[in-house]
Subunit: 107 residues, 2 copies
DNA sequence: TCAATCAATAGCCATTTGGTTATTGATTTT
DNA sequence: AAAATCAATAACCAAATGGCTATTGATTGA
């Protein structure tokens, strides 16, 4: 019942987690250590957030020795954009209906 | 510290609440009773969701006798679109940097 | 006027969530 | 080989969240 869109919205809802994702978008690939250094929370907390971001498809990880590098997967934002324009579309459709109605009333 | 964007993401995170907003987008203005009839939760629960949606600027209410009509405020989605394209922008900027680097290496 | 209806609020409860510290497994470094 | 470092996992906890029932206030209908 809980689809990909639900997961996406829920994952992006937390400000700390979104900040981590934003940083990966702005600055590209980062290690867990680098992300922890500026997140203001503990390393395990950061790892947990990264795990959720990965489950949502928003980041991917790359292991290199004992470090793990994470990077943003921008494509994962597509459902978000789709949803937004879908909502905008409904709104416009209703606006057009109203316009038609007014046009008919005018005649 | 908790800005409008935070509120927006947090408000849209819950599937039930988002479904209510979607319905208002698709079908236009609805009363609390109409929304409750298909939400699968109690009237007070629906009212609570509507209260949060209103706080986020996603809906507005209109009182008419003892009924309250709610409608979607599409403009409130702008920060969401802005954020998404901002993220996409960062990604592209880094892509360009990479492209430049490769071009320089090629010479 | 009295009963019925509509929506908001109050008060409560179970679950989820985001954080912590402690530990473990794996890889480097000395 | 032993010590140090990095990131994931485990176990726990407090706070936030989303739901419920009961109630209230306001409006409408009989």
């Amino acid at each position: 019942m809980t689809n990909a869109r639900d997961v996406l919205f829920r994952t992006l809802a937390d400000p700390t987690r979104r900040a981590i994702f934003e940083r990966l978008c702005r600055q590209g690939e980062q290690t867990v250590g680098a992300l922890t250094a500026q997140a203001g929370i503990s390393q395990p907390a950061v790892s947990k957030h990264l795990g959720l971001l990965r489950q949502a498809g928003l980041v991917r990880d790359r292991h290199e020795g004992r470090q793990t590098h994470y990077s943003a997967q921008l494509g994962a934002l597509a459902p978000l954009m789709d949803w937004t324009s879908e909502m905008a579309g409904f709104w416009e459709a209703r606006f057009d209906q109203l316009e038609d109605l007014l046009k008919r009333m005018d005649q």
